[in-house]
Symmetry: C2
Subunit: 357 residues, 2 copies
């Protein structure tokens, strides 16, 4: 039986969690949801360990983040961290990782997972993963669709086709981020699921699809693959990878492929998109405050306090008479913003960038 | 002509500026109003230097604060810092400081000043001081009364008696903190001034008054004074001072004395009683924010940002969409509170104390 491998895409930067997230400490390295202190990346790995041992988990990230990624995942073999010389979107990332796995195991079944999401029901998630992995016997690509809980306009949707058995359906079509009205009809219809950004495929099938739909990418990856087989990957990677076409796996392969299937998942998924969402997922006291245990909260309701400085236990945060704020502290910054305006974090970041120009 | 000396009372603790104020860093050591970065104590000294040279300025403080006081006032002679072995209210403090000055100069004219107030019109203040000092030729004690600008219930008032010339009046009577209705009639009448806590007297006259009204205190001070004259003050001070009657100069002397005069002052005085008051006195941008120059303020109005940590310039404070807050940062604490609830700072402090019990 084919073995299941994981490719965790951990190259993202992310600006919506400033001041906690920084170029050298992106969102996936932050404990923004779930177990206190556990980075989203570490939770991503921990969740799949029961069905995918550490030696079969690859992490693809950026050169300058590799050391931090290794530190966050000390149980993964050093050679399982792939460092992209330049960001080229998801198709080159997945193509390269797939070629790397195919050299180790030509029969590999691969799951590609984002590194910065939250999942409440981890056993339910693993069931969906195994169901999606099994679909790769008969389908070119499988994915997991999330049963929508609100008319979200920030996600892509997938329309259900024929039932394939269990919780699996054909994907009839992909839909880009819809407007509010359309999102509402999607949710009401019960026929649309959120695109979770998780993909499942046989390594061989993905190589074939890239060869068919993205021949230029296929040539570049083949060149890197040959160099790797000859023990000389680094130089060729540095030369070729930055020239690969920067295209997403969705646009480059998924939407062109025949036989895309999806498993309908309902396991408490969130992409943890903002401080608001981090608050929603956090453990809260009876006044709705998500704050460190030593915080002083007086007539304070619905606040999120996140202390990501070097010595958070050395600081007491006192909120008196304030409501529904996000208060975020790091060694070099402090942000105070109403939770519901969390998307305006980018305005603060833009103001800082303007200043430095 | 008699020389003018200053006794600055700097032993206070103060809890209304938590987390900035601490037992070892009381309010008078903080830059809460006026020139950026200048502690209130340093401003108190700087204001009087044109009329009272450094060698004639005494600072009375607590043992554990003496080093910090000296550091804040490097231009004052080391022997001008008097350290109380125990807090015994203002009468023992003033009695001891007066005896100390009388040994140096039996004809000394003494002004006693709080160390933690703000004054906008410093030249106007110095004029009032000189007028009050001159009154000590004919009056036992002079004080400065502040023309009230609002029906404040947190201050004592003094009723004007006969005009003595210039801006000077007899004090007809002292009134304890009034209720709101009475404070309003006081302000409307134009006959009442705020008690500023500044006193002016000849050293000899104060010794006589303490001898008459507080004989027990007079005996203790005489004993310390004899030891000091013999070069052995420290041991006697440690033995006697903690046993002195803990009474205020107001109750113990002022209210019993004959011939108390006051100068009516109108020089932009504030006792800087809370973060609200610190905001009122601070320089503000067009949106009413008083914040460090590197702060990021987006749709933020009327906020006070005070960074009293060790390296404030190393931290960016970003406020997005919040209004009328006080945000105070220190190395070990962060406070967020609506300005208008500034008096509730003590609740945060109580909660912290309860926790430590």
């Amino acid at each position: 039986m084919s073995k299941l491998y994981a490719v965790i895409m951990a190259g993202g930067a992310g600006t919506r969690f400033w001041p906690a997230s920084r170029p050298d400490r992106p969102k996936q390295l932050l404990p923004l949801a779930g177990q206190p202190g556990e980075p989203l990346l570490a939770a991503t790995v921990r969740r799949i360990l029961p069905i995918c041992p550490a030696e079969r988990i690859l992490v693809v990230t950026a050169n300058h983040l590799t050391a931090a990624m290794r530190a966050a995942l000390p149980d993964l073999p050093a050679e399982n961290f792939l460092s992209e010389p330049a960001p080229r979107n998801t198709a080159p990332c997945i193509g390269w990782a797939t070629a790397t796995l195919a050299r180790r195991d030509p029969d590999a079944v691969v799951m590609v997972l984002p590194s910065d999401h939250f999942i409440a029901d981890e056993a339910g998630f693993r069931s969906a993963v195994l169901e999606a992995a099994a679909l790769t016997k008969s389908c070119a690509i499988a994915t997991i669709g999330i049963t929508p809980t609100r008319p979200e306009t920030g996600y892509g949707y997938m329309e259900k086709g024929a039932l394939l058995g269990g919780s699996a359906f054909e994907v009839k079509r992909f839909v880009e981020k819809p407007d509010r009205a359309r999102a509402e009809t999607y949710v009401t219809s019960g026929q649309y699921l959120w695109n979770s950004g998780m993909f499942f495929f046989r390594a061989r099938a993905m190589s074939d699809m890239i060869g068919k739909h993205l021949p230029e990418l296929a040539r570049g990856i083949a060149s890197i693959d040959r160099a790797a087989a000859a023990g000389n990957e680094a130089a060729e990677l540095a030369r070729v990878f930055p020239t690969l076409p920067a295209i997403s796996i969705d646009h480059g392969v998924m939407e062109k492929a025949d036989g895309v299937a999806m498993v309908a998942g309902n396991f408490g998924w969130s992409d943890v998109g903002s401080w608001q969402s981090s608050w929603e997922l956090a453990a809260k006291d009876t006044d709705g405050n998500a704050a460190p245990p030593n915080a002083v909260l007086i007539d304070a309701r619905g606040n999120l306090v996140s202390d990501l400085s070097s010595h958070p236990s050395g600081r007491v945060v006192a909120l008196v008479g304030v409501h529904d704020l996000a208060v975020v502290i790091t060694d070099d910054a402090l942000l105070v913003i109403p939770r519901e305006r969390a998307q305006d974090v980018r305005k603060a970041l833009e103001a800082l960038h303007d200043r430095k120009v």
